[in-house]
């Protein structure tokens, strides 16, 4: 009898496991069809922490479609999902640095910009110059915000004046520097500081950039993969090369005077996100309708107000949807200034391999 109950238990477990496996393996085909036979389901792959879920819900209500969201926190995950995971997405939110690779590898389809009427509200500078690899913006359109990889310093505790990236190697900053761990941002900034193109694939130039970073590393207290806000705010570091100036400024107005972006003699990396429709998307009309909705001034206001970002929609069209004091934030003016002094990067496979190899070497140097 005991044996029988064991068999029954084991069979139940096997059944439950099988059901579990099968229920997880749902069809990759997106969605049901409406009366006209068009899919009313949209699969999107977007960055976490950039878009208002409330806004997406409103789109679902207005359009009657279902939006299935996959959140990512880096482009590498998106690429893995698109390249190795059998492209199941209709719309993607892509870093400018990767647009070239996406276009060259046929991951995107051309957009019908006449259907994206809200592009007229976008900052003209962004619409005039597309990302590297899609300069004419056949495949992409800017999404809600942009930013810079910049040197941020604590105005009260930073012991020196910072005029260039090289200043971060000053012994006065020993154990006071935080750096992003992104190879593109690190080596791009170092290359730019040395007067080379941030998109250089020359091993000699990347090696020189590595030498500069090795000097700076002696002062580095921490490398941060996401946000350098913590070491700056908790006083561990007085200076950081990072993406977080807008995060700091929108978090609290107490930080407006406490932290500033260093005016350096070279340019800073500008990062912009772009909307793209994947080459496998069948319902391009719905995808375009979604993108058009997402870049409308009202929707962008929801995104930037929720997450604290600098909007890419022109002020006169968006300010009515934003809090009264939104444009008093110093990061907006600073970002407008920096747009004249910035560079865009386009990721190249060989360059990434080379940089990553030097990064491994850099991390092996001077370790305790």
């Amino acid at each position: 009898m005991r044996s029988k109950s064991k068999v029954v238990t084991a069979l139940c477990l096997s059944t439950v496991m099988s059901i579990g496996f099968l229920s997880g393996c749902n069809s990759s085909e997106s969605g049901s069809a409406d009366a006209e036979g068009q899919k009313k389901e949209l699969n999107i792959c977007i960055w976490d922490g950039l878009f208002s879920e409330e806004a997406i819900k409103q789109f679902e209500e207005e359009s009657g479609c279902t939006v299935n969201i996959t959140y990512i926190d880096n482009t590498d995950t998106m690429i893995s999902k698109l390249v190795e995971g059998g492209n199941q997405y209709d719309v993607c939110d892509i870093e400018a640095a990767y647009v070239k690779s996406f276009v060259e590898n046929g991951l995107l389809q051309e957009m019908d910009h006449s259907a994206i009427t809200n592009e007229e509200y976008v900052e003209p500078a962004l619409m005039e110059n597309g990302p590297i690899g899609d300069e004419e913006m056949k495949y992409t359109t800017p999404d809600s915000n942009s930013g810079y990889t910049a040197i941020i310093y604590n105005t009260e505790t930073c012991p020196i004046e910072i005029d260039s990236l090289t200043d971060l190697a000053d012994p006065a900053l020993e154990n006071q520097v935080a750096l992003v761990s992104s190879t593109i941002s690190l080596y791009g900034s170092a290359l730019s500081s040395l007067g080379y193109s941030p998109n250089s694939t020359s091993e000699q130039e990347i090696s020189e950039a590595n030498d500069l970073l090795a000097k700076i590393k002696k002062n580095v207290k921490t490398f941060v993969s996401e946000s350098a806000v913590s070491p700056l705010v908790n006083g561990e570091c007085s200076v950081a090369l990072c993406w977080d100036y807008s995060v700091l400024c929108f978090e609290s107005d107490e930080y407006w005077d406490q932290f500033a972006i260093a005016d350096i003699d070279s340019k800073y990396e500008k990062f912009i996100q772009y909307w793209g429709i994947t080459s496998t998307c069948e319902n391009t009309e719905l995808a375009q309708e979604f993108i058009n909705y997402m870049i409308s001034p009202e929707t962008v206001a929801m995104h930037v107000d929720e997450w604290g970002q600098v909007p890419m929609v022109q002020q006169q069209y968006i300010e009515e949807y934003l809090p009264e004091d939104f444009y008093k934030n110093p990061c907006i003016e600073k970002y407008n200034e920096l747009s004249e002094k910035s560079w865009l990067v386009a990721v190249d496979d060989e360059q990434i391999n080379l940089m990553d190899k030097y990064y491994t070497l850099l991390m092996g140097e001077g370790t305790e």
Binding site: E84, T183, S230, N234, D349, N353, T360, M363
Partner: protein, 299 residues
């Protein structure tokens, strides 16, 4: 005498009936299916991938090559593996040195207290490692709880550098892996016959000699198990060095992570993972050759 009693008793284990064999098979099925699908198959896929070539945008080209393994021999990567082994070695040594007395204490106290202490020891394992590490950041940073208290008490004028250094790494590592070390050692010490220690004392041995000649040798299976259970996860674990140490050096875990993400070189990442797996298999093999029991490792 009955006919059945005339038969000689079979040697070894009694032969199972068909029904019993079926029962065993069905009982083992869920775990076997699980292991085959989610452990063996992915590992085979990983090993296969490690012999392939990297394609554009992180894709895999099915052209066999040994280049990924040759690349590991490049001093840049070999140093990272060496560094990981050194950090894992130090963490294991310190964890064992701290864990052994604790295991002995838990084994000696009354049953109820022992259960309570074991639960307390297991508590960190119930919380996500990431949450634990963020808690350490809050605790150890310049404006963190420890520094704030010490400065409020006027014991310090300036905050102590407790975060983003080797001290923070050691604290974090020991905290994460102490339960893995203490539990097998506790199990060994608890099984130790107190009579043997008494006998050693009666024969004139002092506490140190008794420990070295009786206690330690008899509890060594637990110590070996603790070494394995601490060292193995330590080699690939990079979150502590990243979050508490400041990420100023790379561990093999970082390197593998970067190949699968930033570098998008999956075949090389797979080769590194296979090398890590081989190191682990070798450790377990040596452990069994030294007389270690896989049951003590939870196998």
């Amino acid at each position: 005498m009955k006919k059945s009693e005339e038969k000689p008793r079979p040697k070894g284990r009694p032969k199972k009936t068909r029904r019993e064999r079926m029962t065993t098979l069905i009982m083992q099925a869920p775990m076997t299916i699980w292991a085959a699908l989610f452990i063996i198959a992915p590992f085979c896929l990983l090993a296969f991938m490690s012999f392939m070539t990297k394609g554009p945008l992180g894709s895999i080209q099915y052209t066999p090559t040994l280049d990924n393994y040759k690349e590991i021999l490049n001093p840049v990567y070999a140093d990272v593996i060496k560094q990981s082994l050194v950090v894992a070695g130090w963490t294991t040594t310190l964890t064992i040195l701290m864990g052994y007395p604790l295991a002995g204490f838990i084994a000696k106290v009354k049953s109820k207290t022992s259960s309570l202490l074991t639960i307390l020891l297991m508590l960190p394992l119930w919380v996500s490692g990431l949450v634990v590490l963020y808690s350490f950041v809050i605790l150890l940073n310049n404006s963190g709880i420890i520094n704030t208290i010490l400065m409020k008490l006027h014991l310090l004028k300036e905050p102590l550098a407790l975060l983003y250094n080797n001290f923070a790494i050691v604290v974090g590592m020991i905290y994460m892996f102490l339960p893995f070390a203490v539990l097998p050692m506790y199990s060994s010490i608890e099984k130790l016959d107190p009579g043997l220690i008494e006998a050693s004392k009666d024969l004139g041995a002092g506490p140190v000699k008794t420990f070295c000649k009786v206690t330690l040798p008899l509890t060594s299976p637990g110590v070996f198990a603790a070494i394995i259970l601490t060292f193995i996860p330590c080699i690939g674990y990079y979150m502590v060095t990243d979050m508490l140490g400041g990420g100023t050096s790379l561990m093999i875990g970082n390197l593998i992570y970067r190949q699968f993400t930033i570098s998008r070189n999956w075949p090389f990442g797979a080769a590194l993972s296979v090398v890590l797996a081989v190191i682990i298999f070798l450790m377990v093999f040596i452990y069994t050759k030294l007389g270690g029991d896989l049951d003590d490792l939870g196998a």
